[in-house]
Amino acid sequence: MAKKKVPLKELCFARSGDKGDISDIGLMAFNEKNYQILKKQVTPERVKAHFKDWNKGAVEIYEMPNILSLEIVLRNALGGGATKTLRLDQTGKAMGNAMLWMEVEVD
């Protein structure tokens, strides 16, 4: 079957928050099949490339098979953190939504 590219918003929900300069993005897959796609295709390299110079540190991705979710942790990713950042979104609440633009391949 031919593969097609779709944005993540078609596969999962996303919610993000902050602790200092760290951005935490949770992706909650709609089902097991989508979770497997997220697990394979949402890699630290791709996340780093997605946020370009907004993410200045390492990216870690943790699996939560019990709730079909991924926890993405981006270090040095909020312009210095809520009190110091120049960004309008001081606490990175929209980082999850920003993540949903990323495209993955599906059958």
């Binding site: 929900f13 996303a14 919610r15 928050g17 902050d18 602790k19 200092g20 300069d21 760290i22 935490d24 949770g26 992706l27 909650m28 997605h50 946020f51 370009k52 110079d53 907004w54 870690e60 943790y62 699996e63 939560m64 098979p65 019990n66 709730i67 979710s69 926890e71 942790v73 270090r75 040095n76 312009g79 210095g80 953190g81 809520a82 009190t83 110091k84 120049l86 960004r87 309008l88 979104d89 609440k93 929209a94 939504n97 920003a98 993540m99 633009w101 990323m102």
Partner: protein, 458 residues
Amino acid sequence: MKKVRVGAGSAGWPDMADPALVSAERGELDYQGFDHLAELTMAILERQKVRNPTRGYIPDVIPLMKKLLPIWKNKRFKIVTNGGGANPEQCAVEVMKIAKDLGLVGMKIGVVTGDDIPVKQLDSLRAQGIKFKNSETGEEDIDRVKDKIEAAYVYIGADRVVEALNAGADMVIGGRLSDNSLFVGPFMHAFGWKYEDEYWDRIGAGVATSHLLECAGWSTGICSTQWEKVPEPWNLGFPIAEMSENGEAIMCKPPGTGGLMSEYTMKEHLVYEVHDPQNYLMPDGIADLTALKVEQVGDNRVKISKAGTKSRGKPRPKTLKFCLAHADGFIMTYIMVVSAPKALEQARRVEDYLQRRLKIRGAKPKDMLISYVGINSLHGPAAPMPKEEPNEVAIRFAFKADTEEEARLYQNEATLTWYAAGVGAAFTAPDVRPVMALWPTLVPREAIPTKLEMKEVK
């Protein structure tokens, strides 16, 4: 099996009071926890206390208690709050006046202190060989910012909360009690859990459940991926955990309230600000959030149970989170809105103009950010450019400056960028604010002695 009902009363400062009062009235609560502190709140309160020694606690606690205590008079649940902020003693004095006026003679209040470290004391901690390595930047110690530190506070655990409740406290007032401990404390007290090997699984479950409570409405539909399905957000119900002795919880909310308690509102909170979900570090224990099962078991009822045989918890960390706040220059922000036709082209021209003006003025800002609200201010480089010409673009200028004078220079040039825009630019008010920066670090638990004082309304 023994069960208790623990409700959330607040997620920060400010928050709505009415959902907390509804929970108190109709939630059949045994305990209610109130978190009032965000990352920077303690520094703000510390500044208030420096100006006036009878301040420094969360002022909203007073009007809240005036409404809550008359309900408490009939319901007699236990209250735990960190609204004491930088001055729990004074907060207790004020709350006791309210209790006395309501005739609540005999009400017992536990006051927890020791989390708020006087700046002078930092030297004696350093003399013990403790280094305050910045856990974000890796900087080894605080030498560079030492003279600018205005507040220092430790996120303490539930030890003293449990002690106060064991001593019969009706209310516990603390300062930087960690949000999580406001709820773990009641669980440990109710079930007799101790910081010992046989309890870490259950304490881990308690830490996880507390996480689902501590942000109050954030678990019942605020800032939710489910927002389109959340009924009556104006009549929001705050979460309540019906906790069993084995650590299994039914998450619910008071009858007749809006908001939503669903599998997704629980999942979206289990992924919220937790970093490594197998090691969710809190002062009272380390929770493994992957060891939990989440299932809808009724209307607005979600069960959080043990998924398999894996322990839900591990022993509490040997260190505590320690936050130092220091002054760190100024930030200037300004928004100007340009109008179609060719709004985006005007925005780019304005940006180029400003760069040239700064060069002429010889200004070299340490950091600056120009973003277009409606296009890329929230998603930054991850945002695709719009395919169609927008009706208008709000250009947002943000500058970092070492001094207020430098910030005013940026304000001056940013507000004059309309010289370069076309017809139809609209202005807003510029803002210059002093920056309080946080220096997150860790401190050995034993270096921070805390204190409990029991008081009684006479």
